[in-house]
């Protein structure tokens, strides 16, 4: 028997290579299964992003919320969207503290006051939360990234230009800014004035007032301005509540086409005024897009991806970087009587 066994083994040894069964496949090299979408599925821990607006329930921030929710649905993240009832830092601070307690992954805030909010945001950072500011910035140390809608210089100078076109580069004008504490408003204000001083010597800035992003307050302020300066040639609204209030006041004073109203506001708010001629041009970006970008940027930051200049963001487009921690979403859009119907925010 052993001999037979040995012979068999020998035989097998000799012919083993020839014995590979017929037509089947013999694997040579395998690089493993293809890298499908599984890795993403693996670390699918549900992200929570807390977003704080300047103030609750005004059309501009409602539009932002629409974009936020769209992104939340598409990118499959949980989003908490809240804003204070009045546009002040105190209300926002409460919300941020609440988000810290909820242990969200990201806090994205449109800061009403860069200085007052900095401590609480720093605390959030210390708690391991990524802090993003959008729309309106805070102190650079208090956040990881600032998402700016447009280049403030471009916007400020452009808004000044639109006013100049509509007043024939002459006459006095007033500016209704959002609040003197909001950094974006101040930034734009700075560039509006820079452009005015640089190019329009025949124009005269009579007053800068703050609306505190309250539509009623804004309307009151506009009325006061009209009374105070009967020869006013134009009003710039520096935040979204400014131009509609100004246009409404102009309309009530029956000074359509006499006083030019331009500024930063949404098409929905301005559609009627533009068509009636109580406002000429408003400039803005898409707040929906801003909301969408904020969420998708928050998500990529959680994923550890840092934004780069000229990066293509799906559903948004190409973004720019200014410095290492500021994103610029895009170019401003002008809304006029002709094109305002195309837009839905």
């Amino acid at each position: 028997m052993p001999l037979k066994k040995r012979l068999c083994t020998m035989w097998v040894f000799l012919f083993v290579s020839g014995c590979s069964n017929g037509d089947s496949y013999e694997l040579l090299v395998s690089n493993g299964s293809s890298s499908t979408m599984h890795p993403e599925a693996q670390n699918e821990h549900q992200y929570t992003i807390g977003i704080v607006s300047k103030v609750d329930n005004i059309p501009y921030f409602n539009s932002v919320k629409e974009g936020v929710m769209e992104a939340a649905e598409q990118l499959k993240v949980d989003v908490l969207y809240e804003g204070p009832t009045a546009a002040d830092a105190k209300g926002q601070k409460v919300i941020v503290e609440k988000f810290i307690n909820q242990k969200v992954d990201v806090i994205a805030i449109s800061a009403n006051d860069p200085i007052q909010l900095a401590p609480v945001l720093k605390r959030a950072k210390a708690a391991g939360i990524i802090v993003i500011t959008w729309d309106s910035d805070t102190e650079a140390e208090a956040r990881n990234l600032f998402i700016d809608m447009v280049n403030p210089e471009v916007l400020g100078r452009h808004v000044m230009d639109t006013l100049a076109w509509n007043t024939g580069e002459q006459g006095s004008f007033a500016i209704m800014t959002g609040s003197f504490s909001a950094s974006n408003h101040n930034e734009w204000l700075k560039w509006i004035q820079a452009q005015w001083k640089e190019y329009y010597p025949n124009m005269n800035l009579v007053e800068v007032v703050a609306t505190n992003d309250d539509p009623h307050n804004a309307f009151v302020q506009a009325q006061i301005l009209l009374k105070k300066y009967p020869d006013l040639a134009g009003i710039i609204g520096n935040s979204s509540v400014g131009p509609p209030a100004a246009a409404k006041a102009v309309e009530e004073a029956e000074k359509n086409h006499e006083i030019a109203v331009v500024g930063v506001s949404t098409p929905d708010l301005m559609r009627d005024y533009l068509k009636k001629g109580s406002a000429q041009v408003v400039t803005l970006w898409s707040p929906k897009k801003l909301g969408y970008l904020t969420v998708s940027m928050a998500k990529s930051l959680i994923d550890g991806e840092q934004p780069v200049d000229f990066q293509y963001m799906p559903g948004v487009g190409t973004i720019r970087m200014r410095g290492t921690d500021t994103i610029i979403m895009g170019e401003p859009i002008d809304f006029t009587r002709e094109n305002v119907d195309q837009y839905d925010f």
Partner: protein, 601 residues
Amino acid sequence: MILQEKMWINMIFKRRSFRDYRLQTKLFITYIAITVIPIALLGYLAYSQYISSIERQVGTYIPRLLDQANDNIERQIDEFFQMSDQIYNAPMIIEILRKDAYQTVSAMRQDEFIVDSYLSSTFIHGSQQDILGVFISSNNRLFSSTRTDYLSGFSTKEAVGIYGQNLDLRSQERVLLPNETSLQFQDKRPFILIAKPLIDVENRLSLGTMFIVLDLSFIDRIVRPIDEQEGAEMWLMNKKGYMLYHTSANQVGRKDGEITEYPTLNGSFKTEEMLFGMDVSEQQQWILTHRIPLGQLTAETNFVRTITILLFMAVIIIALIMAALLAWGVAKPLQHLTEQMKRVEKGDFNVVFDRQSKDEVGMLSDRFQTMIREIQGLIREKYQIELKQKEAEIYALQSQINPHFMYNTLETIAMTVEEDDRDTVVDMVTILGRMLRYSLSNKEKFVTIHQELQHIRDYLTIQSYRFEDELAFRIEVQVDGNKEYIPKFILQPLVENALEHAFVPGKQLVVVVLIKRAGAEIHMSVSDNGAGMSKIKLLEIRQLLTLQTDLNRDHHFGILNVNGRLVLHYGEAYTLQVDSEKSTGTTMLIRVPVNQEETGV
């Protein structure tokens, strides 16, 4: 169990039978086993290892190339997707796409004209030659611009193929294969369709879907340079096996039915004839496959293989020859030795060994030769002893004086005494005394003819006293009787024989003893004129003489004794010759060489 036992027995039997092979065969088989088989095995293993290492190498680097190609294809597709983003830079087009209702047909036609012109100038007449056509389906409108005419099952109001703006692609870009659409170009050229949802990023609404039809030449440009060998095939297919691109154009659009059987889609494997390399692209999950006949890979090594095989053959032939020579060199002397042994066995001791090597075989031969010499010596010794014994015996016999003769002679003497013939008695007694002295003086074996003849004469004389007239005798000597020697008593038995058998009643018996010289021999004949023998008897006698049988037989003892002694002393040539004729007489002839001196042999 029985079967196993049987096999086992068979094995033993086989092994036994191998043992029984001749040494030459065994050596030859062993040499072959220890040279040819290892070389063959080694060569086979080395070659198969070499081949499999080539396969492994190719199997390793081909998937890498494929991976690169796949990356390039995807990058290219990404570029096409990005190209479609150009449309966002045309606000006029976006404005048209945002519209969803028209007051008049002409207004709609106007918009269509604007968009079509834009698509044509931006994509079709752009730098990208691979774009066959662009379609935008938006709000129940279809804008298009193509390089060639197309057929499709849809009207301008419908979407391209089965996908339209109703499909919620969201932000998902997709690549559609021809089998997923009903789109067809007139020249049936293969294509792929990339579908990109157009999003109004400002309003967060869908604007519709943009489709870009791509010619496959961009894949061809990437894939073809990977392997331009004849026989190599490459194709690109999706997970279902639909081949959207193939290096041979007629395969495009067919299905690879074996896709589910492939052991890996990311790597390489082989069948009996083919080597496959595969790589799955990351985004599209397309499988780029490379297939090449194994023979093609090893074609360059065939020359080496041929040389190796030839060398191997040469080595085998040399090994065979050497094995044969070596086996022959060992076995041949042994065979020679065996033959010589056989000869010795048959009694031939005159064996010659022509081989005088110093190896084991030579030593064996030497020992064998020594042994034979030894044996030969022993035999000779034994032979001589026997011979001496025989001679002694013969001597004893020959020294006897026949008792009958004594009795008869004494009786004759007695009768003569009665007759009172004193002289005769004296004579007879004298003769008898001389005879007795002759027979007793047995020191010498050889005597002169003269002495022997004296003895014969004495014998015949006494007999003639007895038979008186019935017997006559004559002795003639024609040689010098004192010079020639012959064996003692060599003639007496012949004379006795004549007296015993030849007497014919009523007739005188004449016995003639004749000694003469014939050349170098001395012839001694004893003739009588007596009864003689019949021919049969004569033949019988002659046969007895040539056979040289036992000396101790009663019948014809005398002549056989004589014959035996002659042969003993002089050799086979000197036998006793007998001639006889019925009723006429008998002659017996002894021949001996001249000058035979007593040699003491």
